[in-house]
Symmetry: C2
Subunit: 209 residues, 2 copies
């Protein structure tokens, strides 16, 4: 509905299709969406989807690449040298969390499509490009802090996994929580905001020497 008016008019049929596909794939995954459904959402003929993207897999790949890029870009955070390690860490955690808030379906989407081992190559490449850089940087920072006995001994890998685990979960489990806890939209975002702070507390506390 919204996507339609946004881009249909002039330039945009190709993009409209991409955006509609994006939304649907995020919600239901590759197998859960048909090109017919995408066309219906855009309000165009189903053949048009194939006209622009040839195959469904092709279209999906485009969506997936975009999302994956966003997912890893989350971690590229501006480092402010004036701040302490702890202050920088808090910023990292919170901005990671906030980025997920903006795309709450992203974690499930990526994890699930990885399970379906579609497009493993893109994933491998994307992560291999980003992960080592990220970990090495963090490792250096940690070394200093650990040696100064300001935090306990922990590897960058473990710290990163801890942060990601804690940050991601609430978005993965959102549907469960909604009905198990019976939360409405508002209570839900309150809870999410609360979790953000709790993750920060947990991580910081867990790092004390």
């Amino acid at each position: 509905m919204k996507e339609q008016e946004k881009n249909n008019q002039k330039d945009g049929m190709e993009l409209s299709i991409l955006y509609a596909a994006e939304e649907l794939f995020l919600e239901k995954g590759f197998n859960g969406v048909s090109t017919t459904e995408i066309a219906a959402k855009v309000g165009c003929n189903q053949a048009l989807v194939h006209y622009y993207y040839r195959t469904k897999a092709n279209l999906f790949q485009k969506v997936f690449e975009n999302k994956l890029k966003y997912m890893v870009s989350i971690f590229e955070i501006i480092e402010d040298e004036n701040l302490s390690f702890e202050e920088r860490l808090v910023i990292k955690i919170k901005s990671h969390f906030d980025a997920l808030s903006k795309e709450p379906l992203l974690p499930m989407f990526v994890l699930n499509e990885i399970r379906n081992n579609s497009s493993t190559d893109i994933i491998r490449e994307t992560f291999r490009q980003q992960a080592p850089n990220l970990i090495n940087k963090l490792e250096e920072e940690l070394k200093i802090e650990i040696e100064a006995k300001r935090i306990r001994n922990i590897s960058a890998f473990d710290l990163l996994i801890n942060i990601i685990s804690l940050n991601i979960f609430v978005f993965l489990a959102r549907p469960i929580m909604e009905y198990v806890l019976g939360l409405d939209e508002e209570k839900m975002s309150e809870m999410i905001e609360h979790r953000k702070q709790e993750v920060v507390n947990t991580i910081l506390n867990s790092l004390r020497p």
Copy 2:
């Protein structure tokens, strides 16, 4: 292959089908598996799947219920009154983690099928039966510890979420890690074992007052 010989012979066609379905659904989800594929795995005619379970959805439901039961049963742990809170907590964390190790595909499976909002009723019921009981018990224990200033102030809900988040992630992200880090089977289980200890450390540390 293994399932076939296990149960095909006498009593077992009905169960063979269930087990084959279980394995396939866990691996690929509802949409990713056809009754034809299930039959092929069992080595029987496709109509037989429907003979015993009428519909694919029906069969899936049976599998899902079983898995969901297992998932929540993980938390029903024998409480040893002689142990300290910390000791009991460590046991809980570790046995939760170990249970997941035995069914590493379970978290992804459950989370994903919840997203596809198939069978939301079963989920709601199952969790509503178990969750409050679990949380209340933990809440009581926590109260004592917090009042005695042995741990920081934290809600049972948050602690539970923290534990589950940290424990689950490594199984969700296993496929990613496998190729990103290039780990073989052995290195992988080493890493998993390492993570188990790291989760314990993180949780315990994070609870200190």
